[in-house]
């Protein structure tokens, strides 16, 4: 087997890992802060991608503005849904949040299929990021390097914001003890809305990043939530760092499996999830409660 193939699959794994990381990070923030298992995380990823497609085709607005506008739009929609619907199930069992976001996912996806059908629509790679680098042992497309770089920057940035800044301190406090945090003058309900917006914006951002790589379709992201769920379980529910590290590792392992044992590559993530659940039920970075 040529090293070309191995490195090629590793890059694919790294790209997949990048998307897993951005999506799982948002998912972990939302489940930690709001206690909502957001099944619609993949839908906001699709909305991010579709948003950039619409901006380009209806308004002639290109990739770079879309990178900001599309996640922002997804976040606004998410915050509206949080205020009007999702916040009503906080006091109920987790299953209600899961069912509600599942319903939202079906509704949004259904609406897009109705208007746009399921066929993929191409989205061009921005001019500045066409071409690639010849590394000698392999060819690395510029856009793929850009995706990995951005995922690393955003993951580190989010981790830093949560661990080291004032808003992050407040988010952690609200995650740990929401009632008491309110008694310290902090408007926790507003903070939850904001946190949901951030989690959704990360998914939307991943969607814009994905648009030039995968074609844009209402179905994209539909099955990603299953992988995200596995990542968050393996990393440890609510652990931001755990989600990031696990997402990249599982992406890479999945890529390697494609070389070594292609038939099983789709299963790798879930086999690892099973093993981790058996050995360390709280996840690799989680704490036993």
């Amino acid at each position: 087997m040529s090293s070309q193939v191995i490195f090629g699959q590793l890059v694919v794994g790294l790209i997949n890992g990048s998307f897993y990381a951005l999506l799982s990070l948002g998912f972990a923030i939302i489940v930690g802060l709001l206690g909502i298992i957001n099944v619609a995380q993949g839908t906001f990823y699709m909305l991010g991608a579709f948003g950039s497609w619409m901006l380009l085709n209806y308004l002639g607005i290109g990739y770079w503005p879309a990178l900001v506008l599309s996640p922002l739009g997804a976040a606004l929609l998410g915050m509206l849904l949080e205020k009007t619907l999702i916040s009503r199930v906080y006091h109920l069992d987790h299953i209600y949040g899961l069912l509600l976001t599942y319903g939202l996912m079906m509704f949004i996806m259904g609406a897009f299929i109705y208007f746009y059908a399921t066929a993929g629509r191409p989205y061009p790679v921005p001019e500045e990021l066409r071409g690639g680098y010849d590394l000698g042992f392999m060819f690395l497309p510029k856009y793929r390097a850009w995706v990995v770089l951005m995922a690393v920057v955003f993951c580190f940035g989010t981790w830093y914001a949560i661990e080291k800044t004032a808003i992050g301190r407040t988010l952690r406090a609200a995650t740990e003890n929401p009632q008491l945090t309110r008694a310290f003058g902090i408007n926790v309900p507003a903070l939850l809305t904001f946190g949901f917006g951030v989690g959704v914006a990360l998914a939307g951002f991943a969607g814009v990043m994905a648009a030039p790589i995968y074609s844009v379709s209402p179905l994209m992201g539909g099955d990603l939530v299953i992988v995200i769920f596995a990542v968050v379980v393996v990393g440890g529910m609510g652990s931001i760092l755990g989600s990031i590290v696990t997402a990249f590792s599982l992406g890479l392992l999945e890529g390697l499996a494609k070389v070594v044992y292609p038939q099983g590559s789709n299963m790798v993530i879930f086999v690892i999830m099973l093993v981790v659940l058996l050995v360390k039920p709280a996840g690799l970075f989680g704490h036993e409660k």
Binding site: R169, A173, Q179, L180, R182, A183, F184, G185, I186, V188
Partner: protein, 235 residues
């Protein structure tokens, strides 16, 4: 000092689900006074403080802070009026270090203590400022719970058993902090089992039993009513 807050509670009822815990509590505390609420375990002292703070959803009656009724207000709104809460369980955050715990409460105004002044008052906390909140000893956690609310500029303090289970030297330090609040003219509501500690600090004592206030003892009458107080406390 003119900005201390008065607290007037009338006919307060509070519930946990269907369980009716407070049965018409009334308290009247002028600005700048220090009172205690004493009574046996389960009398409803903690529930009273939590009701004031807006942490009990189901409550009726009236709770006026400086004349403003907060019976329907959410906790953050009560806090922003200048009410500080030190919960019985201390409420130190494990995911925040000591400094982050201190910086968490939102400032009400700029009249609170600076971080340096707070660390001067509690030198132990300064030494441990990078430690995770729940790695502290019980005494240090209690100091942190009090230190945390000194920064915000609040002027009505609700303290729930701040000396519970602590060594005498630490009780002394907590006492010093409360004396400081008093000397600054703040209003203090102190729930306390340690009656000797309470008598040293408070102007008056409310006695609570089964969700009701059953007696009020001014400082001057404490000595004369010693036997009765012991009975109230079940000692």
């Amino acid at each position: 000092m003119a900005d201390a807050l008065s607290l007037a509670i009338a006919d307060l009822h509070a519930f946990y689900g269907d369980s009716h815990v407070l049965h018409g509590v009334s308290l009247d505390i002028p600005a700048g006074e220090c009172v205690t609420i004493i009574g046996r375990n389960g009398a409803g002292k903690t529930t009273t403080l939590r009701s004031i703070m807006g942490l009990i959803q189901k409550r009726t009656g009236s709770i006026k802070i400086a004349g403003q009724d907060v019976i329907a207000a959410p906790p953050e709104k009560v806090a922003r009026l200048g009410v500080a809460y030190v919960p019985e369980e201390r409420g130190i955050y494990a995911t925040l270090d000591v400094t982050e715990n201190l910086l968490l409460p939102r400032k009400v105004n700029d009249r609170g203590m600076s971080i340096d002044d707070i660390y001067a008052l509690f030198p132990n906390l300064k030494e441990r400022r990078r430690s995770q909140g729940t790695r502290l000893s019980g005494g240090e956690q209690q100091m942190l719970a009090i230190a945390r609310v000194l920064r915000t500029g609040a002027s009505l303090f609700l303290l729930d058993e701040p000396t519970e289970g602590l060594a005498p030297v630490i009780v002394q330090q907590i006492g010093k902090a409360i004396e400081l609040m008093k000397s600054q003219g703040h209003t203090i509501v102190l729930v306390e089992q340690n009656f000797r500690f309470a008598t040293k600090i408070a102007d008056r004592h409310y006695v609570m039993e089964r969700g009701r206030i059953i007696d009020m003892i001014p400082r001057a009458e404490v000595a004369a009513k010693a036997t009765q107080i012991q009975q109230y406390l079940g000692i």
